[in-house]
Symmetry: C2
Subunit: 301 residues, 2 copies
C-alpha cells in the first residue's frame, strides 16, 4: 500500500510512525507499505527521511499523490480546500482521500467546493482526537494515538468500503474509532475541546494582565498548570479552528458563561449550600467520566 | 522536637511523612522527632499508626497539644477558629502554632477572634501550595511538597524566630518558601487557584448538562482531561475556601469574564487577526511560565 501524507506535522508524522511500526510487526493491512511525505518546508522533509518517518519526500502535491492508494491530508483546516483541489487534480481516480482536520462542516464544505463530484465517493474525513501543546514533526511519536478516540464523519456519498479502510488504518495507529455526523462532531468538539481552549486562553490572559501577575505566575501550582496547559497551543492552528467552527464555539462560550454566571450569583449571595451542591454535582460528573479519558502522557509542563 | 498535627488528611499526613523521612536520614532539625496526630475520625487515627505517620494519636486536641513544641493545624478553613480556640487553651505558652489553610485574611481574622493576644506572637500561617483532587490520609506521600511553593504570611505580631522555624520545617518537607502579606496571598491565589477551580467546575457543569453530554464526555480527549481535572476536587473543602476568600474570588471571576467577553467579541466579529494575536500573546505567556511550575506528578486522570 502506498500512503501519501500531506502536511508532516505532529498529526501526520505520528500516523506515519504508527503505521511503520505496525508494518514492521506484521500487523499492517498489506505486506508492503510505502509512505510518501509532502510538505512545503524542506527542513521538515529532510527530518522525515532522517527519522525514517517517510520513504519518499517531495514538496509537490501533484508528484506526491500521483501513485497513491491512500492520501491523508493533515494541513491547517483553512488550507484544506486549496490542498484538496490539487489532490483532486493529480491523484488516481480510485485513491481514498481522508483528512485529519479538527473541524468538520466547514472543511467538508471547502472540499465540496474544490473537488470534482466523483472524488467525494472516495473521501472519508476522520478526526483523530490527539495532539499536544507542542506542534511539529519533531514531537511525533508512534504512540500518540494509543487509547485516543477518532471520529469518522462519512459523507452521504462516501463509499462504505472506503469508510471501513480509513477506520481500519486509524485503528492500526491506536485510535478507537466512533462515527458521528459532521454537525454532531462540531457541536461535541466545541464543547469538550474548542471552548475549553478559549477558556484556557482567557484565563491565561486574565492571570498575565494583573499588576500582581509576576508574583502570581511564579507562585502558581498544579491546578493552574493543568487548567492552562492547552493555552500554550499553536496560535495559528487555533485561529484556523476558531474560524472553522465559529458558530458552535460561540454557542458553547455562551453556555459556559451561563454556567459561570449561575455559580457567581451564588458566591455573591454567599449561598453556601448552593455552591457546595454545585461543586458536589460537577465533581461527581468529573469523577464518573475518568474511565473514558485517555491516559496522561509523560508530557512537558 | 514534638510536633502535633491537628487534622490528618492529605496535607497534614504528607507533612508528617516528609518530616519522618528527613528525621530517618538525619536531616531533621533535632535528633528526636515525635509526631502526635489529632483527628476526629478514629479510622484515620488507626491508619496513621498503621502507616507509621504518627507516633501517638488522640481524638482530643487538649491532650494532643499539651506538650507540643510545634502545632500544625490542617483542618478545613471554616473550622480554623474553633480549633485554634482549643489549641490556645491547652498548648504550652511558647508552642509555635502554624496552619496550612488555603485562604489567609479570613483565617487570620478567625484566629484573632479566638485566641488570647499573647498567642499571636507564636502564630505563623504558612500555606503549602500542594494538594490533589484526591483528599484523605490514604493519598498522603512524603514527596507531595517536593518542588512546590509555600507562602508564609507572618502577622505584625509574629516572632521572627518562629517565622524562621516554620519556614525551615516546611523547607525540610520539600517546599520553596516565599513571603507575602495575607491580602496579597488571597488576591494571588484567587487568580491562580480559586478562580481556575470555579472555571473548571463551570466548564464541567456546561459539558454535563447538554443533550449531547454522554456522547461528548465519552469522546473527550487530553485537553478536556487537563482543563477539568481540578473539578473532581473535594466539594466541602472548596465551599469552605469559596466562603473564606469570597470577595477576591468574585473580583477574579469578573476579571476572567472580561477577558472571555473580549475574546468572544472578536470571534463573533470573525476578527481573525484579533483572535490570532490574542492566542499568540497568551500562548507566549503560558510558555514563559513553564519553568516556574511544579513537575507533573504521576497522577490519576
Amino acid at each position: 500500500m502506498r500512503i501519501t501524507i500531506i502536511g508532516l506535522g505532529l498529526i501526520g508524522g505520528s500516523a506515519a510512525l504508527a503505521w511503520k511500526e505496525a508494518s514492521k510487526e506484521g500487523r499492517f493491512l498489506s505486506s508492503e507499505l510505502t509512505i510518501t511525505a509532502v510538505d512545503t518546508n524542506p527542513e521538515t522533509l529532510d527530518l522525515a527521511l532522517e527519522l525514517g518517518v517517510a520513504d519518499r519526500v517531495t514538496p509537490s502535491i501533484a508528484e506526491g499523490v500521483a501513485d497513491a492508494d491512500v492520501v491523508l491530508v493533515a494541513v491547517p483546516v483553512l488550507a484544506m480546500g486549496s490542498v484538496m483541489k490539487e489532490v483532486d487534480a493529480a491523484a488516481p481516480v480510485n485513491a481514498v482521500v481522508t483528512d485529519a482536520g479538527s473541524v468538520r462542516s466547514s472543511v467538508i464544505t471547502a472540499v465540496r467546493l474544490n473537488v470534482r463530484h466523483e472524488r467525494l465517493r472516495h473521501y472519508v474525513p476522520l478526526h483523530p482526537i490527539a495532539g499536544a501543546e507542542k506542534a511539529g514533526l519533531r514531537y511525533a511519536t508512534a504512540t500518540l494515538y494509543t487509547g485516543a478516540t477518532g471520529v469518522v464523519t462519512p459523507l452521504p456519498e462516501s463509499d462504505l468500503e472506503d469508510v471501513a479502510l480509513v477506520a481500519k488504518l486509524w485503528t492500526l495507529a491506536g485510535l478507537k474509532v466512533v462515527e458521528m455526523t459532521p454537525e454532531e462532531h462540531d457541536r461535541v468538539y466545541a464543547m469538550v475541546s474548542h471552548v475549553p481552549h478559549m477558556i484556557a486562553f482567557a484565563l491565561m490572559q486574565m492571570a498575565s494582565q494583573s499588576p500582581e501577575s509576576e508574583t502570581a505566575l511564579a507562585a502558581a501550582g498544579g491546578g493552574f498548570r493543568d487548567t492552562t496547559r492547552v493555552a500554550a497551543a499553536d496560535a495559528r492552528m487555533w485561529a484556523d479552528i476558531t474560524r472553522g467552527n465559529r458558530q458552535a464555539i460561540l454557542d458553547g462560550i455562551s453556555r459556559f458563561e451561563a454556567a459561570l454566571t449561575h455559580l457567581k450569583g451564588m458566591v455573591a449571595a454567599d449561598d453556601y449550600e448552593g455552591y457546595y451542591n454545585y461543586f458536589e454535582r460537577t465533581a461527581n460528573a468529573r469523577r464518573k467520566m475518568t474511565q473514558h479519558l485517555p491516559p496522561v502522557q509523560p508530557t512537558t509542563k
